[in-house]
Every structure is written in C-alpha cells, then in structure tokens.
Amino acid sequence: MINDSAVFWSRILTEVTLSFHIIYATIGVGVPILIMIAQWIGIKNNDEHYILMARRWARGFVITVAVGVVTGTVIGLQLSLLWPNFMQVAGQLIALPLFMETFAFFFEAIFLGIYLYTWDRFENQKKHMLLLIPVAIGASMSAVFITVLNAFMNAPQGFDIVDGQLINIQPLVAMFNPAMPTKVAHVLLTAYMTCAFLLASIAAYRLLRGSTHEYHKKSLYLLMKLGFIFAVATAIVGDFSGKYLAEYQPEKLAAAEWHFETAPNAPLVLFGVLDDGEVKYALKIPFALSILAHNNPTAEVIGLDQFPVDEHPPYYIHYLFDGMVMIGMFMVALSLIYLLALWRDWTFIQTKWFRWIVVAGGPLSVIAIELGWWLAEVGRQPWLLRGIMRTEQGATTSEYVDLMLILFSGLYFILAVGSILALQRMFKNNPIENEIARRKERDFV
C-alpha cells in the first residue's frame, strides 16, 4: 500500500526539516573548534582580544545550539514518523551509528553546559579551555555518525537479502561502506570552512559599520587564514568525492554532469540548459570530467545510457553541483587574495566593496552546504537505499502529512526569526568596545 500524497508531502517535509537543521547543525559542528582555537591563541599570547573572541562566540553559540538541538530532535523523530517502513529496515542494519550519535550528543551537551557556566571559575584558564575539547569532539562525532548513516543509504552493504529476508547482518561492515570516507571528510571540512567564513562575515560587517577596533581586524585575519585552509581541503576532498561517485554511483555523477553517453575524453559541462536532451549554451572544459572521475584525461566515464530511465536522478542536480563547486572555488580565491594582500600590503582589501564581498562569503558558504546536500540526496533518487528500496516504498501511509508540513514550516519560521533577533540583540546591546571598557573598569577597581 502506497499513499502517493503522503509520499510527496513526506519528501517535502523531510527536505524542509533537513535543510533547516543543517544550517544550525553546521554551526554546531564548526564553531566549537574555532572557539577553542581563539581561546588557545589568547592564552598562549596572553592577548585579551582572542579570549574575548572566544567568549563572545560562545555566547552566540548558545542560541544556535538551542535551535540545532530542537530541530535535530524533530528530524530524529520525523525519520520514524515519515519513513516508518524505511526505518524498520534501516533499524536492523544501521542503527549502530545512530545510537553512537546519541552518546556524542550527550557528551557534547554535558560539557557545553559546564563550559558555559564556569567562565572564570578556574584559577587556570587552560583548564577551562580543556572543557571545550569534549564539546568539539562530541559535535564533530555527531556529524561523523549521522553522515555514516547517510553514506550507508548511498552505498548499502553489510547484509544479504535472501527471499526478502535480511540475513548475515554485519553492523561494522555496514558502517564502513565505500561512501563513508569521502562523505565524512567532506562534511566535516565544509562545516569548519563555513563557520570560519560566517564569523569572518560578521567581523567584516563590523568594520564596514565603522568600527575601527583592532579586535575585528585580528578576528578577520585569523578567520580568513583558517577559512583558506579549510576551503582548500574541501576542494581536494570534493575531488575525491567525485572519484567515489564515478566508481560507486556513476548515475549520480552522470546526472550532475549531464553526461548522457558513456565515453572517454569526457568534458566537464558547466551551466547551460537542456533542450530536448541537447545540452546548449554550456561551458565545456575538455577532459575535465575524465580527470575528475578517474584522474586520467582519456579515461572512460559511465553515462546515463547505462541506466534505465526510471532510475535516472532528476537532471536539475547539474545546477546544484555547479553552484556548489563555483562557490567552493570562489571562497578559495577570495581567502587567498585576502592573505596575499595582507602579506604584500595591498590596501584594496580595506575598501568597502572588498569587505562587502567578504561579508557575502559566509552566506555563500551556507548556500554551498545546502546545494551540496540537495545534490547528494536528490541525486540518490529514485532510491532511498540505493538499489534496494525506492523512496516511495519507505514513506508513511498515514494522512495529514500536508498539515504537518504547514505546522512545521511555521515552527521553523518562528525559530529562524527568534534566533536572529536574539543574536542581534545580544551583540547590539553589548558591542566589543563596551565590553572591553567594562573589563578595564573592573580590573581597575
């Protein structure tokens, strides 16, 4: 029994929930590491600015964590509410990383509570900083475990199906599937990268708004440096992800590249439109797809002709892929130019227009995260578990999914507005200049 409207609305609701959760989750994964780095530099160089940086980021982090936690709880239960048939099967095969994830959450939540409420309690600042290590590990591990699960959906293994029965189940083999290494690495690095550029956006924005405080300059420099490192690593691992796809999910790569015929010397198609199966107005980079897929300009790349039409992913994922890669390249270039300019004393990086571009970098990175996930998930269609269960087979059969979509959309709207207002108020009422002045006063007394 398949309830078509329930399938449709379940897909939309999953998409909305995950697209919303992923923004806050990404911040949850990346920001603890950045706080830790800032606090460490502050302690090492005895520079109060970096310590304040850590403290202010941590304050804002409380708000985003709150939204990350509640939306995560929502998606965790929605998996069973919207995809009960899928979870019944997946539970038997891949419950292990999901269960491990709850321990990562626990670990993170406990130490985050302690970290936030023991500022200045310890004589030795370093001890307080050490509390962040479990927070950062917990957050990154929760991303690792959930991504392992998602990797399994792309490359299921670790079991056999005989007469419709699941047998020979090996939970560890299921976890260490071929999609896992590149996926986990790419997800972690993009989270770190995005957080660095998001915080850099804020610093650049404060400078644009007329603050000349050294604090913002230090923070911008630190973040652009870190952002550059993470962006380069992201692009490298992204290249490996392409190679993974070429080997294990060629239909996803082919659809993302509009590569219809299996052929050697494959060019990389950028943008363009699809007109009756013809690619028009596209930018073609000769041999680039063969290089992306196999590191060899003449290698053969499998095209969509090898797959039945009803197993083709939607072709629009091409634009998602292009968008993600463009943003990735752009962020590498932007941060590199910034660092070179600082080194060579080029002053254009202090102009308004350049700072506006840096401000745009944060939101752009978030967009790249969204594009990347849509590429990965839509590109897996029509499968829920690739080759084993189609999306419509996993969905719920119950009524009222459309109504739930309306309710949850309202919820996300309220959460988005509330978190933005809370953050804005928090920092507007307490700009860095005031905070430094107050600390001076207190030390003086």
Partner: protein
C-alpha cells in the same frame, strides 16, 4: 537475561530519567509563570534559572536517547508507532521545540516578558499531556489494522476516559515532582522564601496525585481486563510506592530532612514506573507488538549493547561532574558567583 530484556530495561531506565528531569523542568516553567503573573517573580525566578540553565540540553538528550535506542533495539516500533503517531508526536515536537528554543533566546538574548512566561509555563504542561497519549495508545484498543497497516482511531482515543485520566495524572505528577524537588533545591540555596512557597505547592498537589493514580487503576479495569490483571499481579510494587509517597509528604509536612525526601520521591516514581513497565511486559503495543517479535537481529543487538556499555563508561563520570558542579556545589546553588559566559 535475554538480549531483548536487557534492551528494554536500559531504554525504560532512560525514559524514567527523562520523565523525572523533564518533569522538574516543565513544572519549574509553570511555577515561574505563576510567580511572574502574581508579581512575585523575585521569589522564584532566580532559583529556577540557576538550576535549569546548565542542564536543559542534557534533559533533551535523554529523550533522544530513548527514541533512537527504541528504533535500534526494536525496529518494528518505527513501523507501528511511526505510522500511527504522526499527528500526536508532531504536536508534542512543535511544543517542545518552541519551548526549548525560546528558553535559550530569552535567557541570553531577550528580556523577560509576561505573555512569554505564561506561554512557556503552559507549554510545559501541554507537552507531558501530549506525550502521555503514547502510553494510552500502547494499552491497545485504539489501533486497527487496515490492509496490514496500523491506523489510529482518533475518536475512540479522545472519547476514552482512560486517555483523559492519564493526561491528568501526567500533569499532576509533573507539578508534584517539580515542587518537591525545588523545595529541596531552594532550601539548599538557603532561599527560605522560595523553599516555603514550593513546599506549599508540593502539599497542594499531593492529594490530586494520589486520587488520579487510583483513578487510573480503576479505569484500567474497565478498559482492558487483561492489562488490569497484570497490574494487580505486581500490586506489591505499587504498594511500596504508595508507602514511599506517604513518607515523602510526611517529611514535607514536618519540614524535615529534605534531602531524604527527594530520594524517596525518586524511588516512589521509579517503583511505580517500573511496576507499570513490568505489567506491560511483553507488549510494546498491545496486542500487535511484543518485545520478542519486534526485536532486532542478534548481531545488531550485541553491537548496541557493547556501545552502550562503552558509552555509559564515558557518560556516567561526566554526568557526575555536571551534578557536582551545579546541583551539589554550594556556592553555585546559592548564586555566589556569576560565571556565565
């Protein structure tokens, strides 16, 4: 002990953990709203905030642990409960999300506000009420199989007196647990005004608690005689729980030994909760789903249990540290330092 029994015991223990910590949290929100509305927020708000702030995220993880573990150990529950609970659990989730997120927004970003405090307090009562419906459904009688898919009969559910008596019990229990706990916590904070006020609330709610608990047992008799008999077979556990309840209220009345009182409170609810759980055995959803036929495969079960043991070795010391720093630290509880980030 069979693997499925180990699994369900672990999950039930975590659910109990959630019920207790969340009750304290939900009830505290209600009392806070009450004190704001009666312009006496100076009495309660401080103590409540100091307790809640560092632990609220941990509370939530207990819930997450329970439902993730449930799907792991008993994957078929995802099919049965996932299909029928779409609407009730979605409503609980929305309430839970708004309440949880706005707690953080308000504590760190925005100033206190009457309307907000009221909504927060009420949400805290609606959440247990809406979650409690899951227990009612598990008793059987509200689910039919249509084309091999379970379907919830909303009309039967909402017109059944059992549903409403469980809802009432859940709300009253939240208010009672929270009041008793906060009496002790405020006492430790040497905030005698707050402690006395909470003591009054605890005493007020003790009678309704006893009445609604007895009422439910009577309801059961009419609803499902089989389940009623199973409950009667563990009558002695319920009886000990009742005795502990009387000792707790007596200590409260006499203003004696609040530390012991809280321990007795937890034991009372633990006994009742486990007695209820034992009487439910082996059904997860009467009469369709038992812990035996819904259990996962052996490989996964063993892997999950190993992870649980390793995880517990990591968590228990961390939790102890958390409680030591915030619940059992005299200076913190009394609000001597303000060390918030």
């Amino acid at each position: 002990m069979s693997l499925e029994l180990i699994g369900i015991c672990v999950l039930w223990a975590f659910l109990f953990g959630y019920v207790i910590i969340a009750s304290i949290d939900f009830g505290a929100g209600f009392y806070n709203a009450y004190s704001v509305l009666t312009n006496r927020s100076d009495v309660l708000s401080d103590v409540i905030k100091r307790y809640l702030s560092p632990v609220w995220e941990v509370t939530n993880v207990f819930l997450v642990f329970f439902f993730v573990g449930m799907v792991g150990f008993f994957p078929q529950t995802a099919f049965y409960y996932g299909t029928i609970l779409l609407v009730p659990v979605s409503i609980s989730l929305i309430l839970l999300s708004i309440r949880g997120a706005y707690y953080a927004f308000e504590s760190y970003g925005m100033a206190g506000h009457k309307g907000y405090a009221t909504a927060y307090g009420l949400a805290g009562l609606l959440i247990p009420a809406s979650f409690s419906v899951v227990f009612t459904i598990s008793e059987g009688g509200f689910v039919e199989m249509v084309n091999n898919y379970p379907q919830l009969n909303y009309k039967a559910l909402f017109t059944s007196p059992l549903t409403w008596s469980i809802v009432v019990l859940s709300i009253v229990a939240v208010l009672y647990i929270s009041a008793v706990f906060l009496t002790w916590y405020a006492h430790k904070a040497r905030d005698h005004k707050a402690s006395n006020l909470m003591r009054k609330f605890a005493l007020i709610w003790s009678a309704p608690l006893a009445i609604s608990a007895v009422g439910i047992i009577i309801e059961f008799r009419g609803h499902n005689p089989f389940r009623f008999e199973k409950m009667v077979s563990v009558w002695w556990l319920f009886a000990i729980s009742a005795i502990l309840f009387f000792v707790t209220t007596w200590l409260l009345w006499m203003k004696r030994n609040y530390g012991m009182m809280v321990i007795l409170l937890f034991s009372q609810f633990a006994l009742a909760f486990f007695a209820y759980g034992i009487s439910h055995y082996p059904y997860l959803l009467y009469p369709y789903l038992t812990i035996h036929d819904s259990f996962t495969n052996k490989e996964m079960a063993i892997a999950l249990i190993i992870v649980f043991i390793l995880g517990a070795a990591l968590l228990i010391p961390s939790l102890i540290l958390l409680f030591k720093l915030f619940v059992f630290n005299k200076d913190y509880v009394r609000g001597i330092h303000d060390e918030h980030v």
